[in-house]
Amino acid sequence: MVPVTYYITLSAVLFTIGALGVLIRRNPLIMFMSIELMLNAANLAFVAFTRTFTVLNGQIFVFFIIAVAAAEVAVGLALIVAIFRTRHSINVDEMNFLKG
């Protein structure tokens, strides 16, 4: 059986990659993917602990996270489409017109 440490390490790596992706990339589609990556890193950690401790709470959380992620992506993609329609660009660095 693969020790839980491996899963956690993988989860951390995935999360780090996701976080860096959000911080570094300018394409909102990529940024969404990175966010998905972070969410799934959390899912992986949940699932791994569920297996180790044989309780179902983690599984339930995972389902919630998947549902929320799906909703978030739907809203996010809709926003991106709307922004593209008005500004003909989806570069996040150009979306700074709400600053103080």
Binding site: L23, V92, N96, F97, L98, K99
Partner: protein, 688 residues
């Protein structure tokens, strides 16, 4: 039948009349207003008659009727109690009886007066004041305590003020001026001096005798300290001198003739001015305790009688002569009650009310007749351009003459009044004046007797002078030539008064003494004796005086612009009489001018410069202004509170200015700060 329960209605009826005219008078016709007021006074007279009848049926048993509590403080207990005894009913009958007749007369008189003075709106006001006067006078005479009497006393003073200044914006000739209003103020202020004496007397009375109620006071008086009684009676005399126009406070009464003639007749001849005499008669039990105070009262009365009579000789105004005559006759009454001859004083009060009201009202009729004549003259001359400029005094006897033919009714009425006043047998004045003289003679008041006898001589003389000047000879002014007799509403009340002046003596004929028996129930009396020598002397003197006046004024009637023949005879003495012995001037120099100077000093220096300019402007306003502009505004407000809040705002502004740079609009930098935040929190949690 007992009608004593009606006692409060002597006050309520005038009150009703006054309220009716006050509330509904604006919508009532002139005549109705006048008759309402007269009816109110007439009902009060009916009540007075019923009260007198009940009293007589009860054998003069004094009764009182309380309608409510008034003041109950500590030992002081005063109620609104109406006292019905023979003295108060006598006064009630005179006040309401003569008052009603004068009310009726005023219906006619005021109609013409307001017409000549171009302000018909005053008609109602006059009758409201008149009813108010009857009301106050009734309170005065029906009071059961000195305090309630004082309420009436002040009330009649107020009405006197209001009615003297009835035409307050003009002088007696109708020219714009404050002369009438000044006369009203003079009367009010002079009376105030007297009232001050009365008030102090009441205070001393309460202090020394423990009550203000008549019976209680009289019961306590014999055991009280003599000095206190002397003090009370003499202070009361100050009040009497003010109200009844005695030396030294008589000066207001001649000026009071500024009021309409019915006012002079009602207030300043028949009723109000006799209040002082009534007060002394009412306080008889106090005065009889202290003969020295009685002597002072009698002397003041006698001196006033003579002094005023001499002034009356030198007057030209028909009403001024009567005014001084009134002062003189009041002197007779005060002398009478002062000597302890209370009945004689009251008797003279009653008869004097009859004939002096008659004389005043007749004089009013003469004045109206002349005004009518002047009016007709002005109309005759077409557009009265030249006449309106001429100042015509309808009261000046030098403008009259020959009115016997143009105003015959008034003439005969005036003659009746004159004979009564001069004391000619068998008119009312003869009996009453004679009783005073006889009492003075018998009681040993020799000085008083001679003063009064000489005054009686002067009385007959100035009345004779008046008759000759006004009614005989030829008219000295066109207005007098065209004078018109007064209408019936004016002459009818005069006829009633003339009848009373003629037969008024039967009230207390020698040997019959009805009034004496009547008043015996209330005050200590002694039946006045008829002294033939006294009666003869006074009658002879009166006839001689009238004869002398005929020699001077009747034989060779005064012509237009001719100097008074007495001036040639008496020279400077006549000037003195004409100028009222310069008493007004003396008072002005002695009291009025120093008072005005003191008032000016207080107003200009003490109030103006010290309080206003220095204390208020400099000290108070200066301090306040320094406090507000410098201390509070500049330092506390601007540099303290303002600075704090401005600083707060500035700090917020600066802080936000630097913080806004963080919000740069780059999503990734926000994400980075979120990440850093998470790392920080997690780091903290881990380290902890």
């Amino acid at each position: 039948m007992n009608f004593l329960f009606l006692a409060p209605w002597v006050v309520f009826f005038p009150l009703l009349g006054l309220l009716t005219n006050l509330i509904f008078g604006g919508r009532m016709r002139e005549r109705l207003i006048g008759w309402t007021a007269s009816a109110a006074s007439g009902f009060a007279f009916v009540v007075s008659v019923l009260l007198a009848w009940s009293l007589w049926a009860n054998h003069g048993e004094a009764a009182s009727w309380t309608i409510g509590e008034w003041i109950h403080v500590g030992r002081l207990a005063v109620d609104w109690t109406f006292r019905v005894d023979s003295l108060s009913t006598t006064m009630m009958l005179v006040v309401s009886g003569v008052g009603t007749l004068i009310h009726v007369y005023a219906i006619g008189y005021m109609h013409e007066d307001v017409r000549f003075k171009h302000d018909p709106g005053r008609y109602r006001r006059f009758f409201v004041f008149f009813n108010l006067f009857i009301l106050a006078m009734m309170i005065l005479v029906s009071a059961d305590s000195y305090l309630m009497l004082f309420v009436g006393w002040e009330g009649v003073g107020l009405c006197s003020f209001l009615l003297i200044g009835f035409w307050y914006e003009m002088d007696t000739l109708g020219r714009p001026s404050w002369a009438n209003s000044d006369a009203a103020k003079k009367a009010f202020i002079t009376n105030r001096i007297g009232d001050f004496g009365f008030l102090i007397a009441a205070f001393v009375m309460f202090w020394a005798l423990g009550s203000l109620q008549f019976d209680a006071v009289f019961a306590a008086a014999p055991t009280a300290s003599r000095a206190m009684i002397v003090m009370i009676t003499l202070l009361m005399l100050v009040g009497v001198a003010g109200k009844s126009a005695q030396i030294p406070l008589y000066v207001w009464l001649p000026d009071a003739m500024a009021g309409p003639t019915p006012v002079s007749a009602l207030i300043h001849a028949a009723t109000m001015v006799t209040a002082g005499v009534y007060l002394v008669a009412r306080s008889a039990p106090l005065y009889t305790l202290v003969p020295e105070a009685q002597f002072v009262v009698a002397m003041i009365g006698a001196l006033t009688a003579l002094f005023a009579a001499t002034i009356a000789v030198g007057q030209y105004d028909i009403k001024k002569v009567l005014a001084y005559s009134t002062i003189s006759q009041l002197g007779f009454m005060v002398a009478g009650v002062g000597m302890g001859a209370f009945v004689a004083g009251m008797f003279h009060l009653v008869t004097h009310a009859f004939f002096k009201a008659l004389l005043f009202l007749s004089a009013g009729s003469v004045i109206l007749g002349l005004e009518r004549g002047h009016h007709a003259m002005a109309e005759h001359a077409g557009h009265a351009g030249e006449h309106s400029k001429e100042v015509f005094d309808p009261g000046d006897m030098r403008n009259m003459g020959g009115l016997r033919k143009t105003m015959p009714t008034t003439f005969w009425l005036y003659v009746v009044g004159t004979l009564a006043l001069a004391g000619i047998f068998p008119f009312a004045g003869f009996w009453s004046k004679d009783e005073i003289l006889a009492d003075a003679f018998l009681e040993g008041y020799t000085a008083v007797y001679w003063l009064l006898t000489v005054a009686a001589f002067f009385t007959a003389f100035y009345m004779g002078r008046q008759i000759w000047m006004v009614f005989f000879g030829k008219a000295r002014h066109d207005a007098a030539a065209q004078a018109v007799e007064s209408p019936r509403i004016i002459t009818t009340p005069l006829m009633v008064l003339a009848g009373l002046s003629l037969v008024g003596g039967v009230l207390n004929l020698p040997g019959v003494h009805r009034l004496t028996e009547w008043l015996e129930h209330t005050i200590e009396v002694h039946a006045g004796e008829f002294v033939l020598s006294v009666a003869l002397i006074s009658t002879v003197l009166a006839v001689a005086a009238i004869g002398l006046s005929w020699l001077l004024y009747g034989r060779k009637p005064l012509r237009k612009n001719q100097a008074d023949p007495l001036r040639g005879w008496l020279g400077p003495i006549f000037s003195g009489m004409e100028h009222k012995w310069y008493v007004d001037e003396g008072y002005r120099a002695l009291f009025v001018n120093p008072y005005i100077a003191a008032a000016r000093f207080l107003a200009n220096v003490v109030d103006g410069r010290f309080w206003h300019d220095w204390f208020h402007d400099k000290v108070l306003a200066g301090t306040y202004s320094w406090l507000s502009t410098v201390a509070l505004n500049r330092y506390a407000d601007q540099r303290g509170i303002d600075a704090f809040f401005n600083g707060l705002g500035e700090a917020t502004r600066r802080a936000s200015g630097s913080l806004r740079r963080i919000q740069n609009g780059f999503v990734r930098s926000y994400a980075l700060s979120v990440l850093l935040g998470v790392v920080l929190i997690l780091g903290y949690l881990l380290i902890k």
